[in-house]
């Protein structure tokens, strides 16, 4: 009896634990639907037609692909210089035949130094791309043999060497069978028979191979005359790199072995030491060049390697482009320079940027985020079909004509914020139009079309404006007036860039720039505008203004000077010479400012506060301000003093204090002198103001921008900055949040049997301490399930009640018996940790079972049927329990321990 029952259980256990069941969706067609268009689904309550779905889907791919290509190209170009630098380094080294270091031909160093290139990649986790680029570049030369080492497959010297050899020789040495030949073989084999193939980690292989290689190449082309190499190296060092030159001399140059250590930090230091000393030992025979990728700093390099091995390296440093620059360029390329393309709204952009600045300086993750938003834009927005094409194009007409009524209704809702704004703005002026917009689809259609066109033009203008803004920034030295592209763009999304304090500041300051510079600036603006004809068309009025300003400049320049010359001669002789030059003005302004100090302080304080706040988030350089030149017509334009004060305050904070004060008279005099110039300056200034005001607007001002801009950030947050801990916890603790079923409540105190098994196990788990006795767990679990099962057969015969009691008793039985179990678990065989847990259960279970039987047999009347019931329940519970805990194990909540055989260790935070 006992025996076979246990057997049954084992069988049951086996089948249940080993099989796993996947339930395919029954309806085949449905199933197909999901995968179609990568799950792009019909929107607008499924009224959207296949055609539109496809449109969105295809658009998504089109857009994303060209963004992707843009970025890839960009990255490539950005790293080009660094790559070439490294390439030249490699090709310049060891070119002369015999001695190790070509530069030190004049003097022999006692150390055999290995030429080593340290590549500082910055800590961005996406430097792989650049490395690939470098390697491929190096490999363009046939005589360069590269071995790329990654920490993850260089566990010990042995297989590191193996990898090196294999990669350099571009063969893989077949793994000679290290496995132990069985005893008889062992004794029979006479030693000579053994294959005397060199172990595949034997540096001698490399040696032999290289000798052979050189021999061959010697035959092919007789060796280079050192002279040739001489000037070659020269050229190289002058970083001139035209490939054909390289390739030509490379064909003559000797073979080189390049070891590329990708992630220095992760390598075992001792291993590297040995590697270095080994190869420096071979440096006569093997021309080795090391390239080491370092994420951190030279300091770390020195930290980790002892100087004994450092002295074997002849280091040169290379800096890869840091991710900040990359991101700037990407933003420029993807967002600013594109006209009819996907755009990010402020929220998602900010999110991505913050992630980049604060959490990971990773360009890749930025790109990932971007991709996601593109995808989601087209996935969720039925109107996205209107985005990213030239609204004036015929293509657009087609789409527009195809638009359904539903689309337009959707449009009203979807573009609600901007639409409403728009309505409000016009309802006073033209209520009729408003009415039509809301009622007549035709009108709406047109207005949408118009809106899109406006956006289109806005983008064109914005591009120009932005470039000019950058130009303007370039004019100033002080870091205070410089903001990175990414920061500027953020501003431009938040508000009209023109209104931003920063830009206002810049414009203000433009007043005090000397003629020639400002003139050049204006010219560049002109150039920028005329660069593409659209912009030219849109901004021609500015062009005209510009032109006559420039004209004026010509004239004014001359006579303006005349005047000043004379006045200077008459009035103030000592400082005359410099009058026109900036410094003078500088002083003047500063002094004037000094007067205002007293009443500016209050303002200054306020300014300071928020400026510092923003500074903290922006990069920090901006903090240190050096204002040699703080200027503006402070006294004469009281209404504009705010910004002056900002400057002033900065200047004060740096404690730039001017020495000499001036009398009111002289001040007035200079004022006169300057007036002529001023009118000019004003004109320019007005122009600049107008120009930027017109170009640097914010996308929010335009109706229907939602069609083009992706403004949703929550989805991004959800999918990119997950909070696994809390999520898993809620999932397991309050499954109804996800299943939204009403069977169980959020009540923490009671564990309902209606919960999913894993949840029950988890809830119990939360109650346990560090070590969990599996059997207790099992019992508790069982109890919970049991009353569920019982509930199910509530309305059966009273006999069942008896069973229930029995089960209760058994439960106690179990509970009691447990202790004994613990004491005498000598018979528990420890198996490997995986199925250990189950085993323990099983064993305990079997004993348990034994008890049952006795117990039962002692019981008189109720027979077979019940027992089957019993067994069935027991089996089922056990199976479900095992599944539950193995799931938890899989999640990493528990782990079997050797300390106590029938216990598991709790791996996560306590109950939280």
């Amino acid at each position: 009896m006992v025996a076979n029952s246990t057997i049954n259980i084992t069988e049951a256990y086996d089948s249940l634990s080993q099989a796993c069941f996947i339930l395919w969706p029954t309806d085949k067609k449905k199933h197909k639907d999901y995968t179609k268009n990568d799950g792009f689904q019909s929107l607008m309550d499924k009224t959207e037609t296949e055609d539109f779905i496809n449109q969105r889907h295809d658009k998504y791919y089109k857009i994303w692909n060209n963004i992707k290509t843009k970025i890839d190209k960009l990255m490539f170009d950005l790293n080009l210089s660094a790559t070439n630098g490294i390439f030249n380094f490699v090709s310049s080294k060891l070119n002369n035949t015999d001695n190790a270091d070509s530069i030190n031909k004049d003097i022999q160093l006692p150390f055999k130094e290995i030429p080593t290139g340290l590549i500082f990649s910055g800590i961005n986790p996406d430097d792989k791309r650049m490395y690939k680029q470098i390697v491929s570049k190096i490999k363009t030369v046939p005589t360069n043999h590269v071995a790329v080492l990654e920490s993850k497959d260089c566990i010990n010297l042995k297989n590191t060497m193996k990898i090196i050899i294999e990669q350099l020789m571009e063969t893989n040495l077949n793994e000679e069978n290290e496995n132990i030949i069985d005893a008889t073989e062992f004794y029979k084999k006479s030693k000579i028979k053994k294959s005397n193939k060199a172990p595949n980690y034997d540096p001698y292989i490399l040696l032999g191979w290289y000798k052979h290689l050189e021999g061959v190449s010697k035959i092919n082309n007789n060796t280079t005359s050192p002279v040739v190499i001489e000037d070659e190296t020269k050229e190289k060092e002058n970083n001139n790199n035209d490939n054909n030159n390289n390739s030509t001399n490379q064909s003559k140059a000797k073979h080189k072995l390049i070891l590329f250590i990708e992630d220095f930090e992760c390598f075992d230091v001792l291993l590297l030491q040995d590697l270095i000393s080994i190869f420096s030992g071979y440096s006569e025979e093997l021309p080795i060049i090391l390239l080491i990728g370092i994420a951190t700093s030279l300091e770390t390099f020195h930290q980790s390697l002892p100087i004994s091995s450092l002295s074997l390296l002849q280091i040169e440093k290379f800096k890869l482009l840091q991710s900040y620059e990359c991101i700037n360029e990407i933003i420029q390329k993807v967002f600013i320079e594109t006209i009819d393309d996907f755009k990010l709204g402020v929220k998602p952009y900010q999110y991505l940027l913050d992630n980049f600045n604060f959490l990971n300086l990773s360009v890749d993750s930025f790109i990932r985020g971007l991709k996601f938003s593109v995808m989601y834009h087209f996935y969720s927005n039925p109107l996205s079909i209107l985005s990213s094409i030239d609204p004036t194009s015929s293509e657009m007409d087609r789409i527009f004509s195809s638009l359904t009524k539903r689309h337009l209704d959707e449009a009203k809702v979807l573009t609600f914020p901007s639409f409403k704004f728009y309505i409000n703005s016009i309802k006073s002026t033209s209520p009729k139009l408003v009415y039509e917009l809301l009622t007549d689809d035709k009108v709406l259609k047109d207005s949408i079309r118009e809106g899109l066109i406006n956006l289109h033009n806005y983008h064109i203008k914005f591009r120009v404006g932005f470039e000019c803004l950058l130009e303007l920034q370039k004019l100033y030295q002080s870091p205070l007036f410089k903001k990175s592209k990414r920061a500027l763009y953020l501003l431009s999304l938040q508000e009209s860039l023109y209104d931003s304090a920063h830009v206002q500041l810049l414009i203000k300051r433009s007043k005090v720039i000397t003629y020639p510079i400002i003139k050049k600036f204006l010219e560049t603006i002109k150039l920028n505008i005329e660069k593409d004809e659209f912009a030219k068309k849109l901004l021609e009025n500015f062009v005209t203004i510009l032109n006559d300003i420039l004209l004026k400049f010509e004239k004014f320049d001359e006579n303006g000077n005349e005047i000043k010359e004379e006045e200077k001669k008459e009035r103030i002789k000592k400082r005359g010479k410099q009058i026109k030059t900036e410094e003078v003005e500088t002083k003047v302004k500063k002094e004037e400012i000094d007067d205002d100090n007293s009443y500016n302080d209050t303002l200054y304080k306020r300014e300071k506060v928020d400026s510092s706040k923003e500074n903290k988030l922006k990069n920090v350089e901006e903090e240190k301000i050096n204002d040699a030149i703080i200027i503006n017509e402070n006294g004469k334009r009281p209404q504009k003093t705010i910004y002056d004060n900002v400057l002033l305050s900065y200047s004060n904070s740096n404690g730039t204090s001017t020495t000499q004060r001036e009398t009111n008279i002289s001040k007035r005099l200079r004022a006169e002198e300057l007036r002529g110039y001023e009118t000019m300056v004003d004109e320019v200034n007005q122009f600049i103001n107008k120009f930027f005001k017109d170009t640097l607007r914010c996308y929010k001002e335009f109706p229907y921008y939602e069609i083009i801009y992706y403004t949703e950030s929550s989805k991004l947050k959800k999918s990119f900055s997950a909070q696994p801990r809390s999520v898993i916890h809620t999932a397991l603790n309050y499954p109804n949040h996800y299943l939204n079923c009403d069977c169980c409540s959020d009540n923490d105190n009671i564990i309902e049997s209606s919960l999913h098994d894993t949840c029950i196990a988890y809830k119990l788990y939360l109650e346990c301490g560090k070590l969990i006795n599996l059997y207790d767990w099992f019992v508790a679990f069982g109890n919970i399930l049991k009353d569920k099962i019982d509930k199910s057969k509530k309305k059966e015969k009273e006999q069942n009640k008896r069973i229930k009691q029995k089960q209760k008793q058994e439960a106690e039985e179990i509970a009691k018996s447990k202790e004994k179990e613990i004491k005498k678990k000598d018979d528990i065989i420890v198996l490997d940790s995986d199925n250990e847990i189950e085993n323990v259960i099983l064993i305990n279970e079997n004993k348990e079972k034994g008890k049952f039987e006795e117990h039962h047999s002692s019981d008189e009347d109720n027979e077979e049927k019940e027992e089957e019931e019993e067994e069935f329940n027991e089996k089922e519970i056990q199976a479900r329990f095992i599944r539950a805990i193995s799931e938890l194990q899989y999640f990493g909540f528990i782990k079997s321990t050797n300390r106590k055989v029938d216990h598991v260790v709790k791996l996560t935070w306590g109950s939280d």
Binding site: I123, K194, E265, K616, K906
Partner: protein, 449 residues
């Protein structure tokens, strides 16, 4: 016999080329100079680094043809490599494409090794039964101890067991006492290469004098150099290294016609600054020989300190690192005082008792302490101003700090909330970091450094 002659010549040459090593060379000649003599079972050559051990022995045995195998124990990092390389050398066997990169034999154990050894010796035993010595030289012998403790004593037994005319020569820069293992270590004959005296060093360095240069003039230079550098380091190679790189600078004024060879004072003045730099940078390899050469005078003068240590980190990551530094260097019991937002004034006080009494060592000297992750995070959240929730990104950053070895995980527990770490960055770097984020680290440190 002709080998013998070559060998004798070689010894003569060496005596000339290695001033200050005549004695050692002669003794070596006595012991192993005669290839047809009974060889001593084992010799242990020791002495400080850069005392000519390796180079002398190497060049001696370069003449012994296939009777000697010179093995560097660093690149024979497994016994198998050791044995097979030995055999290759003795049998003049070289793996190459033609023999499919095979060694003389497949040999993993010392017993196999002995068989092959005898095999080789018997094979090319010269007919007239006249015995010839075989020499196994192991450079960096200290490495032999690592692989397995018996290997060394086994090797030393080889002559006795095989009863061949073999000698084992060990070269190492550590003393023999450190080799003695428990079982059956035969005592080798000790042969010390003592460190060079000043005069010897100068005699050697003078040999680097450029041909076109007046010996005395050069001598003045190297003597000066020696006097400057011998205090921190007497390693001959280092000194030569310096001399090589500094000499061009030394004679610069002469080439530019600013000075003549005679006005030494002027030259000294000129070279002084370079010496200073050399000690700071060159000697420590902060700038490599090649970089050193392509540098202008200004660059030598300007102090390029911090450029070495700085690199960009994400904003929060910086704080994570700072937090872990604080966690590593502050005693936990002070956390409340430092990081509870309330007690501003207390902080002030705590900084008073920085200075520790001379007798007990300051905690700073003991380096970073281990801290549990939770504590570090707590500090992190308290020192960072804007509230952020613990997203996966934070964990990811911690992980990447670990991969960058800026944090070091201590012990290997899987229990997530029990992970313990150490901060692996020095104060200088932390200072730079905290400056970059406007965080006044000194206010939070228990002991100001």
């Amino acid at each position: 016999m002709e080998i013998q002659n070559e060998i004798d010549e070689q010894f003569e040459i060496l005596r000339k080329n290695y001033p200050g090593r005549e004695l050692q060379i002669t003794r070596l000649q006595d012991l192993i100079g005669d290839i047809h003599q009974v060889v001593p079972p084992s010799i242990f050559i020791f002495g400080d680094s850069a005392t000519g051990k390796t180079s002398i022995v190497r060049s001696i045995f370069s003449k012994y043809k296939e009777n000697a195998s010179f093995i560097n124990c660093i690149d024979c990092y497994t016994p198998r490599l050791l044995f097979e390389h030995c055999l290759n050398k003795l049998s003049g066997y070289i793996p190459n494409p033609d023999n499919l990169y095979s060694n003389y034999a497949h040999c993993e154990t010392i017993s196999e090794f002995i068989h092959f050894l005898t095999e080789i010796c018997d094979k090319n035993k010269n007919e007239d039964e006249e015995l010839t010595g075989r020499y196994l030289i192991f450079d960096n012998a200290e490495r032999l101890r690592e692989t397995n403790p018996l290997l060394l004593s086994a090797l030393l037994r080889v002559p006795e067991i095989t009863n061949l005319n073999i000698t084992i020569i060990l070269i190492s820069n550590i003393v023999w006492e450190k080799f003695r293992s428990q079982t059956g270590m035969l005592e080798p004959i000790l042969l010390q290469f003592p460190s060079y005296s000043k005069s010897e060093i100068l005699n050697i360095m003078i040999r680097d004098c450029p041909k076109d240069e007046n010996k005395n003039f050069y001598y003045i230079f190297i003597e000066l150099l020696y006097d400057v550098f011998n205090k921190p380091c007497r390693n001959l190679n280092e000194l030569r290294h310096m001399a090589m790189l500094l000499y061009p600078k030394y004679i610069e004024p002469i080439q530019e016609g600013k000075a003549t060879r005679n006005d030494t004072v002027k030259l000294f003045k000129h070279i002084e600054i370079y010496f200073k730099q050399a000690l700071d940078k060159l000697y420590l390899r902060n700038i490599s020989s090649s970089e050193w050469k392509n540098k202008s005078f200004e660059e030598y003068v300007e102090p390029t300190v911090n450029s070495d240590i700085r690199f960009e980190l994400p904003y929060y990551t910086k704080f994570l690192l700072i937090a872990s530094y604080l966690a590593s260097y502050n005693p936990p019991r002070y956390d409340l005082r430092f990081f509870s937002k309330s007690s501003e004034n207390k902080r002030r006080k705590s900084r008073k008792q920085e200075d520790v009494s001379g007798s007990k060592k300051s905690q700073q000297l003991y380096g970073p302490k281990v801290f549990p992750m939770e504590r570090m995070l707590a500090i992190f959240y308290s020192i960072i101003d804007d509230p952020i929730e613990g997203t996966i990104d934070i964990n990811r950053q911690i992980a990447s700090l670990k991969t960058l070895k800026l944090l070091i995980k201590v012990g290997n527990t899987d229990v997530l909330n029990q992970m313990k770490c150490k901060c692996n960055v020095n104060y200088e770097f932390i200072q730079y970091l905290s400056k970059s984020v406007h965080f006044d680290i000194s206010r939070y440190l228990y002991e100001a450094v």
